[in-house]
């Protein structure tokens, strides 16, 4: 993502006369244009062309405001969980040797490969009313599925590898020298983690968090299954679900919400690209 924005190294630039280079550039531009810029441009046009009053009405309705709030809550909690798990798992995978370490690494990547809908269904099977944990939890008055906790679980599941995959290469690259040096200087595990490990992985961590945030805000499939897509009283629809409903019901206001999501995501990606650039410069 941000890597594609970075300028090529001088040594990687081929002479201009190469026909292959022109062909490559055409393919690249066509890809970005047809698949990214044109669709996003049309959505922006559809969002803004009905005028500001319509735009305001679409994003300030009770349904939209509740959806925004739910999206923010779920994304915030999921990023928090994903970051905690991601860093803990990263340290476990790079700093400890144990049986099944490689398998754990593969499993941690699984959410990238599994369809979000499948992930959502799996969570329903486990935490649903008739699921393994769902029944006892329900009896204790805690509902997971068709409620915010389930939506957070589903979103955390799909975004977990983002932080993990950012911090693992950095943890591997820095090695254990600095951590060992901190140990012999008198720092226990906790101090070593906060004073040495965290500052060292901070750029990668921030980048992973921003990517995860963008992913969480835009999550649809897993949340659609787990939330039950309830509108009206007890709404569990996040922004993406409201957009889908408005499009399917031919209701107005879908593009305006989509536009808000695009702006949020692009802003997040710009922040991430900026962090990466600063990191490369230093």
């Amino acid at each position: 993502m941000a890597d594609t924005l970075a300028p090529a190294r001088p040594s990687a630039i081929r002479p201009a006369r190469s026909a292959g280079r022109i062909a490559l550039r055409t393919v690249g531009l066509a890809y970005v244009g047809v698949l990214v810029l044109v669709p996003l441009g049309i959505i922006t046009w559809r969002a803004l062309s009905p005028g500001m009053p319509a735009f305001w009405a679409a994003i300030s309705s009770e349904q939209a405001v509740t959806a925004f709030r739910l999206t923010a809550e779920v994304a915030f909690a999921s990023v928090l969980l994903g970051t905690t798990f991601g860093v803990a798992l990263g340290i476990l995978l790079t700093r400890y040797h144990f049986v099944g370490r490689r398998l754990l690494g593969v499993l941690a990547d699984l959410p990238m490969a599994v369809s979000p809908i499948v992930a959502g269904l799996a969570l329903v099977l486990v935490y649903g009313r008739n699921g393994w944990f769902g029944g006892p939890l329900e009896a204790a008055g805690i509902s997971i599925i068709y409620a915010v906790p389930g939506m957070i679980l589903a979103t955390t599941f799909v975004s977990l590898p983002l932080v993990l995959r950012e911090v693992v290469p950095v943890l591997q690259e820095i090695g254990t020298d600095q951590e060992q040096a901190a140990r012999v200087l008198g720092a226990g595990g906790w101090h070593t983690f906060w004073r040495i490990t965290v500052p060292t992985i901070r750029p990668a961590l921030t980048y992973g968090v921003v990517l995860a945030l963008a992913r969480c805000v835009g999550e649809f499939g897993a949340v659609a299954v787990v939330s039950g897509n309830v509108s009206g009283t007890g709404q569990t629809q996040t922004t993406t679900l409201v957009i889908a409903e408005r499009v399917q019901q031919m209701e107005p206001g879908a593009y305006q919400l989509a536009f808000v999501l695009i702006v949020t995501t692009v802003a997040a990606l710009l922040v991430a690209a900026n962090i990466r650039r600063k990191d490369e410069l230093s």
């Binding site: 820095i174 020298d177 600095q178 060992q180 040096a181 901190a182 140990r183 012999v184 200087l185 008198g186 720092a187 226990g188 101090h191 004073r195 040495i196 500052p199 060292t200």
Partner: protein, 311 residues
């Protein structure tokens, strides 16, 4: 403070890094752990520092059993081959780290860090990041950092291994001078026998996970316990089936008691030194002479000589 290791054994899978090793370093000494790569000397140092846990045996520092004490409670100074500088902290904060962890008052930290930066000649570079320092400067910073909290012992793992020859030689002399000033019990690991001979009061030769010999530099050079130590401590050649130093072979024109005959095959003049390759009935060897000796004997390729080991 003294350091004792008794029967220390450490395995990595099937590989035995340390095999029932005993070590006794007396307080205030500057000791070298010398040996070939993979011989176990770094592992022994890391066991003393608490960075590795031995499978068997005990380690004590200043008479206190440290075997089960975690690294961060041992109060040792440790210097790593690749500096292990805290990249995100300035030189000042690197050196201050151990004091900050111990929650020493700010004024004391500042005074102590400045004192140490002066000692290692880095006072001008206190605000730099480690990435802006040369290798030698980084290692001096690492030394100041290790000494800041007044450790009971200072452990250095191939401290000059990553530096170029000139800086290395400079830092060796400097480590010796520092030790004479600070008097902290110091153990350093090296695979360079010249470094060990030049810097250390006492040398422990470690090979194949075992201690081969312990002694002063001249003991080890002159009275090696076995052929391995002999070969490791300096150049050797073989005369009459026995290892000798090339400068311990007496060359004469006439027969003397116990001498064997030989013929000079080749002469090499290297500055003040002359190397003679000599063929005997027992095999080939090389002999180190001064230019004066070679001239007096009027050695040329083809000269017949008599050879005798003088020690």
């Amino acid at each position: 403070m003294s350091i004792q290791a008794n029967g220390v054994t450490k395995r990595f899978g099937a590989f035995v890094a340390l095999d029932d090793v005993d070590l006794d370093v007396h307080a205030g000494a500057l000791t070298a752990l010398l040996g070939p790569s993979g011989g176990g000397k770094s592992t022994l140092l890391r066991v003393i520092g608490g960075l590795e846990t031995p499978d068997a045996g005990e380690v004590s520092i200043a008479g206190r059993d440290m075997t089960r004490v975690p690294a961060h409670e041992r109060n040792v100074g440790f210097v790593f081959q690749h500096y292990a500088a805290f990249q995100h902290l300035s030189v000042f904060r690197n050196v201050a780290f151990g004091l900050e962890i111990r929650r020493r008052p700010k004024a004391e930290v500042r005074r102590r860090v400045n004192e140490l930066l002066e000692l290692v000649h880095l006072e001008e570079l206190a605000d730099r990041k480690p990435a802006q320092l040369s290798g030698g400067q980084r290692q001096r910073m690492a030394l100041a950092r290790a000494l800041a909290a007044e450790p009971s012992v200072l452990l250095l793992d191939e401290p000059f291994g990553a530096l170029d020859t000139k800086v290395r030689r400079e830092l060796r002399g400097w480590l010796r001078a520092l030790h004479d000033e600070v008097h902290v019990t110091t153990v350093f690991v090296t695979h360079d026998q010249e470094e060990a001979l030049e810097v250390a009061d006492e040398i422990v030769v470690v090979n194949n996970g075992k201690v081969e010999q312990v002694g002063s530099p001249s003991d080890l050079y002159d009275k090696p316990a076995n052929d391995f130590v002999m070969e490791f401590m300096g150049p050797v050649t073989r005369l009459g089936g026995r290892l000798v130093r090339p400068h311990d072979v007496q060359v004469t024109a006439a027969h003397v008691d116990g001498a064997v005959p030989g013929r000079v095959a080749r002469l090499q003049r290297i500055g003040f030194e002359v190397r003679a390759d000599v063929t005997t009935a027992d095999g080939d060897l090389w002999v180190q002479l001064t230019r004066g000796q070679a001239d007096t004997l009027e050695l040329t390729p083809g000269s017949d000589v008599w050879l005798r080991a003088v020690v």
